[in-house]
């Protein structure tokens, strides 16, 4: 009865892993921020900063935000993804040509 495709699973495992990384990064965001504030300091003693370095390395690897990759939401394509629509260029073109993207028009000048 639904006019659109019904997707109940993630597109592939890579997308799933990306989702896990995003969740962990959200949970550890505050701690990472604070420990980094101690590390990137000129006032505090260096020993403290070294200890902080070790602590941040002990955190789970997937909790760092650098590991997140902005994949396409529909096809899980890692490259050619426009941030505003979270879609890969191919999907974007497909929808825009079928007039399913609001406010998007073919450029002509």
């Amino acid at each position: 009865p639904c006019p659109r495709q019904v997707r109940s699973y993630y597109v592939d495992w890579r997308m799933l892993r990306d989702v896990k990384r995003r969740k962990l990064a959200y949970e550890y965001a505050d701690e990472r921020l604070r420990i980094n504030a101690i590390r990137k300091n000129t006032i505090l003693p260096k020993e403290l900063q070294e200890v902080a370095d070790k602590e941040i390395a002990d955190l789970p690897r997937d909790s760092c935000p650098v590991r997140i990759r902005n994949r396409c939401v529909l096809t899980s394509r890692p490259r050619g993804v426009k941030r505003r629509w979270r879609l890969s260029r191919i999907v974007f073109r497909h929808f825009a040509d079928h007039a399913q993207m609001s406010g998007i028009q073919r450029a002509m000048w």
Partner: protein, 327 residues
């Protein structure tokens, strides 16, 4: 049981009439024996107890009103005699038999049953004579209104007079009292019709006592809501539904929707009071002051989050105290 007793009384009267014709008394006696042998269930006790208490209260009030017990008894007897026809002796016998069958006070139940019988007879007499509600009395007061066109014109002109005095005020015709103007006759004239009875106050009190809504009530309410919620007929109704659900924002947009920051500005900016536990001199203090400076400029965090931030640092530095003391 009351229906049974009345049915038995009716049957007893029928049997009594038959016996008057000349047949033997055995069937009636048999009936009476049956009634005497009937054993009432225990559940009837509560009803009887209630009846008893009511009767006791009535008697108590009667006694209080009357000067002496004898005087009240005399009043009662006069009331009894005033009630017109004496009861059928057959009915009295039947009542006594029923009373004997019931487990509680014989005499009391007998008197109650006899009182009930008297009431029945009264109502039957009234209905025979002609009834309490006479329709003639009701219609006699009503009269058909006839409006002649000339009078209609007069009335319209009487309503608003646009004439003006010398000063400029409107000339108002004398206001008739609202009662007499509405009807030719006044409202308080006429015989009492006794159609309506005063509403009892018990129902009001019963309505006020409401228990907390049970799960079934909530389910019922949900069901009703689901049934009455029709699909939206147009785009506006769709937007209304979305706004209720929370999908659509409320316009004009207020930037603080959902944000309930009750804290004043000074709680955001002057965060030094949270720094009491820290040492007053040294690099840590310097560091924390920088942290506080940064937090005070942060509009995105709530006061609670800022306090948590500072407390985390506190904990962290306390754990590292030994390390720091080595340095």
């Amino acid at each position: 049981e009351k229906d049974e007793s009345t049915a038995s009384k009716d049957s007893a009267t029928e049997v009594a009439s038959k016996s008057r014709e000349g047949t033997a008394e055995t069937p009636k006696q048999k009936l009476l024996d049956l009634i005497g042998n009937m054993k009432v269930e225990v559940s009837y006790r509560n009803k009887l107890q209630q009846l008893k208490t009511r009767e006791i209260k009535k008697q108590a009030t009667n006694k209080l009103e009357g000067p002496d017990s004898e005087g009240s008894m005399l009043q009662k007897t006069t009331e009894d005699t005033q009630r017109g026809k004496p009861l059928n002796p057959e009915l009295v016998k039947a009542a006594s038999a029923v009373a004997s069958s019931l487990p509680l006070n014989k005499k009391q139940t007998e008197s109650e049953l006899l009182a009930q019988l008297r009431r029945h007879e009264e109502t039957t007499d009234k209905q025979k004579k002609g009834g309490t509600i006479n329709i003639r009395n009701v219609i006699s007061e009503m009269a058909v209104k006839r409006q002649s066109p000339a009078q209609g014109g007069l009335r319209i002109s009487r309503r608003i007079s646009l004439e003006l005095d010398e000063d400029g005020h409107r000339i108002k015709s004398e206001r008739l009292s609202p009662q007499s103007s509405d009807s030719r006759r006044s409202l308080k004239v006429g015989r009492r019709l006794n159609i309506f009875t005063k509403a009892s106050k018990e129902t009001e009190n019963a309505l006020k006592t409401v228990s907390s809504p049970t799960i079934w009530d909530l389910e019922f309410a949900k069901e009703i809501g689901a049934i009455t919620a029709q699909p939206p007929r147009n785009g506006f109704e769709e937007m209304i539904q979305w706004t209720k659900e929370g999908i659509l924002w409320e316009f004009p947009i207020d930037n603080e929707a959902g944000m309930e920051d009750d804290a004043e500005f000074h709680e955001h900016i002057f965060l030094e009071k949270h720094l009491e536990d820290f040492p007053k001199q040294g690099p840590i203090r310097h560091f924390m002051e920088l942290v506080i400076c940064g937090l005070s400029k942060n509009p995105y965090l709530s006061v609670k989050q800022k306090i948590e931030h500072i407390e985390w640092f506190q904990k962290y530095f306390e754990e590292k105290k030994e390390l720091l003391q080595e340095i």
